[in-house]
Symmetry: C2
Subunit: 305 residues, 2 copies
């Protein structure tokens, strides 16, 4: 079994934080690494409440600089320094994030205990921004009131897997197993070539996660997120209040589902609910008129794919 792709919702409500209605932040565990996406006020407390080893986070992705996605970052970075972290952190964020953080470090006399790197996002086209050993991250250009990106996290293909039955049949010595798993062919005892494909299974299919918040309905993201294992797409409103989408540059649950359907994703996770709605099941019902596999984001909930 490959490592699960896990998404833990730390907060999924829009605008102002309240008890039990936290602003946006998520932890994505991909191939064993923890990534933080967005960081609304109070995120560091949410991380503790969810028993997440947040000192392991090396990459932080910020979609845009509205407070409900960003105001918790300065506190989290300060706390990591108070905990004497030494591992570097890279922040992927729009222009302004670095300036805002640095000015606060300056006036508070803060010298971080760890190196902080910035990747300033400014392109309006999808670009590869993070290329790690086991996964990559690309931007998903969104349309909101300020410059905003979603993020597409894609696992890299793993190694082929040993076909134990076959290597036994062919009496291949265990000493070759490592080479085989690394993709090499082997020569059997009788001198014949055994092709790697004969003694291995293909690697697990790669999984991917697309995070899209905040944005209007934007069908041109579909080719970027096509066939994603899971899509988180904001649904601030129901169709009932569709008229508010144009001004605020948000989406309805139905629009999110339409994107999910057209992109043929595995599951759609809805979130970023406006505080005006009491019953979140209405979001699910509305979205299911377009697309079947709907999940509702909820604080403290972990989705595993």
């Amino acid at each position: 079994m490959s490592a699960p792709l896990k998404i833990t919702i730390l907060g999924c409500h829009s605008a102002t934080p309240k008890t039990n209605a936290y602003p946006t932040s998520q932890i994505v565990e991909v191939r064993g690494q923890l990534l933080l996406i967005d960081c609304g006020e109070g995120t560091q407390v949410r991380l503790r409440e969810n028993s997440i080893k947040f000192n392991q986070v090396k990459h932080i992705f910020i979609s845009h600089l509205h407070g409900d996605h960003f105001y918790g970052l300065i506190g989290l970075l300060s706390t990591l320094s108070l905990l004497n972290r030494t591992t570097p952190i890279t922040i992927y964020a729009p222009e302004g994030a670095q300036e805002i953080l640095n000015i606060q470090f300056k006036y508070s006399g803060t010298y971080l205990s760890y190196p902080l790197h910035f990747v300033e996002l400014k392109s309006t086209k999808s670009e590869l921004i993070c290329d790690e050993e086991k996964f990559i991250v690309k931007t998903i250009p969104l349309e909101h009131r300020v410059y905003t990106n979603g993020f597409l996290i894609v696992e890299k293909e793993g190694k082929r897997k040993l076909n134990l039955q076959k290597v036994e049949e062919l009496k291949i010595d265990k000493a070759y197993f490592k080479k085989i798993v690394n993709g090499e062919d082997v020569i059997s005892d009788d001198g014949s070539l055994i092709k790697n494909e004969e003694v291995t299974f293909p690697p697990d299919p790669v999984k991917s996660y697309a995070y899209c918040s905040d944005t209007t309905y934007k069908p041109d993201i579909i080719p970027i997120i096509k066939n994603a294992t899971a899509l988180y797409h904001e649904s601030t409103f129901l169709e009932l209040h569709k008229n508010l989408c144009a001004k605020t540059k948000h989406s309805t649950a139905k629009q999110a589902a339409s994107i999910a359907k057209q992109a043929n994703v595995g599951h759609l996770i809805l979130g970023h609910y406006s505080a005006r709605y009491k019953n979140l099941d209405d979001f699910k019902a509305e979205a299911q008129t377009e697309f079947e596999n709907i999940l509702l984001a909820k604080s403290r909930k972990t989705f595993v794919f």
Copy 2:
């Protein structure tokens, strides 16, 4: 009875916020007005949890720009704007606060719905910074790792009170009562002058509250806070860890009590506890070796004087 002087503790722990250990913030109700002192991360949620009508706050006092006293301000100001507040707010804070807030408003495209005024604090001497109808606020220069002030809130003397028994005895017509309460003398029916003091009681004694956090032991604040009704003085450490005070520029519970004793205040409220201590009663016990009237700050606790 005069209006009570109320101090509600929203948070009183040092450094990093955790569930049930919130960073510094207090609401002071003086002569019916709400003042906010310091604003650590999550303060807006604490205000809601304490059912405080925070839209009524017109004055916000920031002691210094360390995160545990300041990181919640941007979120609170943004929320007040989302709530369509129109009443102005004045922020009294060290240099840097205005720049930090404005740069975040700029990059988030935020235009506040209300006027935001700044009083930049830079003096190292105590100064009058706020002079309202019913109270004044003065700075208390403190010594910490960055430029820091405490705040002394002093009620203005109220009106003298009508001596109902006396006005009845002297058969003074009700029509004169308002004048009397406003300090005027009256002429009785027989033409004789009745001095105001004869028919009134003195006004209630004025109350005052001194907030001192964060600071080393600094006896030269004593003349400024002399005879205050209540003093909040930080006690980050116990004497056991007194050696940490010099480096971190904090105080022990005993030092706080010594200040309280020398300043002859009515009550000392301790707070800003380091996370290393499990039993807060130790702070009280240590402080009581110097000064009797010790209160322990605790989230959600309101002290009434």
